[in-house]
Amino acid sequence: MTTSLRELVAHIESGMSVAVPTDYSGVAMSAIREIIRQDIKKLHLIGVPTCGLQAELLIGAGAVEVFESSALTLGEYNPAPCFSRAVKNSTIKLIDATCPAIHAALQASQKGIPFMPLRGIIGSDLLNHHPNWKTIQNPLAEQEDPIVIIPAIKPDFALFHAPLVDEHGNVWVGRRKELVTMSQASRGALVTAEKLYEGNLLEDEKLAAGTLPSLYVTASAVTPNGSWPLSFWHGRDEDSEHLKLYCKMAKTEEGFREYLDQFVFQEVSQ
């Protein structure tokens, strides 16, 4: 039931919307590089709720038309060079949000409702620039009580890296329930996994509690070290040397092209 990384990524077409998780949730970096190799363009990338190197690379490679998230951060390696250039030169469209609004928008899609109300936000300049949010009077309140409503976001795909997948296509995500939300909110999930689990994840009640059922999974590929060079919560540390190298190379547009040549295009598609 699992597939190759190449076939997994081939589900994504230019112009689609793809939801990806934040660094600590499990980032499918191998798949991100494969997206660049397959020359998929005009993506609407949704960082749930923030985004890091994966958005930086895709933006640098010119694969992103719209970037919707609450932040793009490389953590201690900030600032993100390609993102900074893209913002300055307006080569991407930004939809800037705040973390719980990204979650709320996906949860609305997960629940099949058109919107979710959310507290806070009023008075933030985000509200003046966001193309979809709307402030309404709370229909239950007798006094004045403005509240922001967040329209549902229904991505084409959720794309992430998980610890385990089984041959039925069930995926163990553990405590990372935002991956469940992202997957159920999307048309389908594309998952790279560190390991193949022998057996059925749903037959062990302990594992089942952290399992995304195959019903929601479009394709999965066993991709050991799939989050490299980022860390993975269920395993590896980040490759700090590589990240430092990235920041150094990506300082200039030319250096970034060289980085792509060396670490993306020369990597063999699995």
């Binding site: 600590y24 900074s84 806070g120 620039h129």
Partner: protein, 247 residues
Amino acid sequence: MTDINTKIELICFIANLLKDTNHVAVGAASPIPGAAALLAKEVYGSPRHVNILGSVKNNFFTNGAQELFDCAAQGRIDAFFLSGGQIDGSANINLMGVGDYPTNSPRWSGTFGSAYLYFLIPKVILFREEHSRRVLVDKVDFISAPGASEDNIYRTGGPYGLLTNKAFFKFNKQTRRFSLQSIHEGSSLEDILNNTGFSFDYQPNTPQTVLSSQKMRQTLQQNTRPKIEEVYPQFARTLFANTEQTS
């Protein structure tokens, strides 16, 4: 004061601000607030719950990334820390960037959860080590999250105060202004006035920030240290590099 000693004083100072809380949440890349929350738990037994986000071991949330926000809205988080590329005199914070949105230059990371958590957590401590006119501005270029709201806006939380490496201010919700509470060792009222880009209330005889007790520094060294090392290994290495200096 050495840089390390300044950090230790900041940790102890924040720990004292947290002793009336039950649950403190700390953002991922915030070693000083994180260490302070762990220290307060050690010294005062409160907060009872310390949640270091982004960590696997020291994060007890089990319902995904959304739980932080739900938990705050439930009123179950008492204190949190925010910072800003710019912070103004009305406690508005800017995490977006300098200049006109959307073509900011520099563009910073983005607003994260601030536009929400600032409204819902009762004791938000603004923490930024750099105390300069570049950071503490008269008016932020972009309001990521406002320091105060009109009465008709649902808001159960907001700024408690602002801590820098020069001073501590409290925020007054009524006047919507900061008032200088104490000045750290090595700075002065004149230094503060020179380096603060917004106007604020102060007494000419503003006291010096009380230094931490030796007992507290000892507890930090002896009891809290392993926990800090677990969460912030690199920070701990710097902080406890020369243990003699700090006790």
